[in-house]
């Protein structure tokens, strides 16, 4: 398998705090790659560094060979890396459908003139965007909420909407920051099915998750972060037996 995402030697410090030290990892096309670690290990920091929200101090990020480090968030998305947020960040006062339509922004082109004159190309593009957005809402199972404001959706559906919005940009790699946080077991099971289905369709997934059962059952490979350092990488079986991982999660005394 080829590496879709190649992270090499990425470091990021906030003042005196070394949030990420020399992180290197590869995510292969078509796999579900998990990123785990105790609270404050630097998982979300790594996500923000990959998606252009933070500029990294050192290192290199490549998606399909294209450099992503130094890119702005919208350029990262256009290159094919979409993400969701740990604390859901929807456009609260827009409808579910509008949220997904915003996700189409990077793949559409009409400008002011097209919008004002409703040129044929703009109309076609708009109709196409709406059809795709509705299909995506259907896909994540919330088509019935299309006209509701995002803020009024139930919590689990907000998470699904965020995934639909990210998928609208037709990413090659979807990065999910704790997608199952706060979900009940039934919602988790549905999420799991959705993610496996997406993988089946050829999407590559990068996943931060705390739910060990979900991670172990879902991910093809994992990387474990602790204090900004990658302490282990491999299949779930290998990682779960790694002494340094056990030490990071349970303390040195557990060994």
């Amino acid at each position: 398998m080829s590496a879709l995402l190649a992270v090499s030697g990425v470091s990021k410090a906030f003042g005196g705090l070394q949030a990420l030290s020399d992180i290197s990892l590869q995510v292969n096309a078509g796999e579900i790659f998990g990123l785990i670690g105790p609270n404050g290990a630097g998982k979300t920091t790594l996500f923000n560094a990959l998606t252009g929200l933070y500029t990294i101090d050192r290192g290199e990020v490549r998606l399909n060979g294209t450099r992503l480090d130094g890119c702005k968030p919208h350029q990262v998305l256009k290159a094919g890396l979409a993400r969701t947020f740990q604390n859901i960040r929807l456009f609260a006062e827009m409808t579910a459908l509008e949220n997904v339509l915003v996700g189409r922004h990077a793949r559409t082109h009409s400008g002011v003139l097209g919008a004002v004159l409703r040129l044929p190309a703009t109309r076609r593009e708009e109709a196409d965007s709406r059809a795709r957005a509705m299909a995506l809402l259907e896909r994540v199972g919330i088509a019935g909420h299309a006209r509701r404001l995002a803020r009024n959706l139930p919590y689990g559906d907000q998470r699904r909407l965020e995934i639909a919005r990210a998928l609208a940009s037709e990413p090659a790699l979807l990065a999910l920051d704790e997608p199952a946080a706060g979900m009940n077991p039934a919602e988790r099971a549905a999420l799991r099915d959705l993610l496996l289905q997406l993988q089946h369709e050829g999407l590559t997934l990068l996943l931060i998750e705390h739910d060990v059962k979900l991670v172990m059952g879902l991910c093809d490979r994992l990387a474990v972060l602790d204090y900004g350092i990658k302490i282990a990488e491999g299949t779930p079986e290998v990682v779960s037996r790694d002494p340094s991982v056990i030490a990071a999660y349970l303390g040195d005394e557990a060994l």
Partner: protein, 352 residues
């Protein structure tokens, strides 16, 4: 609603007829000076629609909006007055003013891109004042703006041989300058309403609202926030510049005095009071806030009729009542008098 059941063309027809007859009804009912006030109200509708793009859609609190109004007015005055001896027709001078305002929208927008909320408001407020102070002082060593005296004898709009500042008789009906100006301004206002509506319901409009809702998420969703914020500034400034040019032609005289901070605040009041981001609300707010202070000039007459004498100076009472009206609206209708469905829900949720 019963209106919804009637055929659309009938509603539009009645609306068009009403708008066409409005200056004559106002003239007959309230007097000639009120026709000029209606013209002024249309001008403020255009300004409010422009600021609505920046503040209402993109959520960028701009307190220096009047700068673009001033630029449009000055460009028109430079190109169509004896000041430089240029007398370009309005169809050339107006777009140039709007274009220069748009350029300044981008120039003044660029340094503010990293600022949000209150900080943006303070910086834009500064820019508004800078433009006004420039206009006040650019009369030496080269006389560009004629300083505080302002520019006089600005050409009125001419269509063919017809000047909009003079009374004309067409088809046996007498139109005063104020009547003709009304139709011109109405045409521009309708065009700007149309543009605003189309933009709101488009890829661009959605991107603006997304930036207003959550700028970081908007960027991560593929929106080039820098370009779209600059586009909002430029679009708003274009509307402002256009209104400025029309104002210059309408008044025939402009000076920096007309473009002070109070104007910016009044335009902002119009959209906040009417209903931010909601076109009918913005129009209503602009008309109301233009006409209400004028109507309150009559408080002296009311006092004389009621009490036989004047107890409070009408000029003082007028601003007092106006202020009270603003406070009352904000207390009882915090989302504005005609909020969009979106904002009505937002405030209802917040009140729970």
């Amino acid at each position: 609603m019963p209106e919804g059941k009637r055929p659309r063309w009938l509603v539009f027809g009645l609306l068009a007829l009403g708008l066409a007859l409005l200056p004559f009804l106002v003239d007959a009912g309230l007097g000639r000076s009120w026709v000029r006030l209606i013209d002024l109200a249309l001008l403020y509708v255009m300004l409010a629609l422009g600021l609505n793009i920046v503040v209402g859609y993109a959520g960028l609190l701009d307190l220096g909006y009047v700068a673009f109004y001033a630029l449009g007015a000055y460009v028109y005055a430079w190109l169509a007055s004896p000041h430089f001896g240029l007398h370009l027709p309005f169809w050339a001078a107006l777009p140039l003013g709007a274009a220069l305002a748009a350029l300044f929208g981008v120039l003044l927008g660029t340094p503010t891109l990293r600022l949000r909320g209150d900080y943006l408001a303070i910086v834009t407020l500064g820019f508004g004042e800078i433009i006004r102070i420039f206009m006040n002082n650019l009369n030496a060593p080269v006389n560009i703006t004629n300083g505080p005296q302002g520019i006089n004898l600005i050409d009125p709009v001419r269509v063919g041989d017809m000047s909009l500042s003079q009374t004309q008789t067409l088809f046996g009906i007498t139109f005063t300058g104020a009547h003709l100006t009304y139709y011109l301004f109405l045409l521009f206002t309708l065009a700007l309403i149309f543009i605003s509506m189309r933009l709101e319901d488009s890829r661009i409009g959605r991107a603006w609202v997304a930036i207003r809702e959550d700028e970081t998420a908007a960027a991560a969703t593929g929106i080039n926030t820098r370009n779209l914020k600059l586009l909002a500034f430029a679009m708003g400034a274009t509307f402002g510049g256009l209104a400025g040019g029309l104002f210059a032609s309408f008044q025939g005289f402009i000076s920096p005095e007309s473009f002070n901070l109070m104007e910016s605040i009044m335009i902002l009041c119009m959209i906040v009071l009417g209903g931010m981001g909601h076109i009918p609300g913005v129009i209503f707010g602009a008309v109301l806030l233009t006409l209400l202070p004028e109507a309150l000039r009559y408080t002296g007459d009311w006092q004389r009729n009621l009490f036989g004498q004047i107890y409070i100076d009408p000029a003082d009472l007028r601003m007092l009542l106006f202020g009270l009206a603003l406070v009352a609206v904000m207390l009882y209708r915090p989302a504005g008098l005609m909020p969009s469905a979106r904002r009505r829900r937002e405030f209802a949720d917040a009140a729970e």
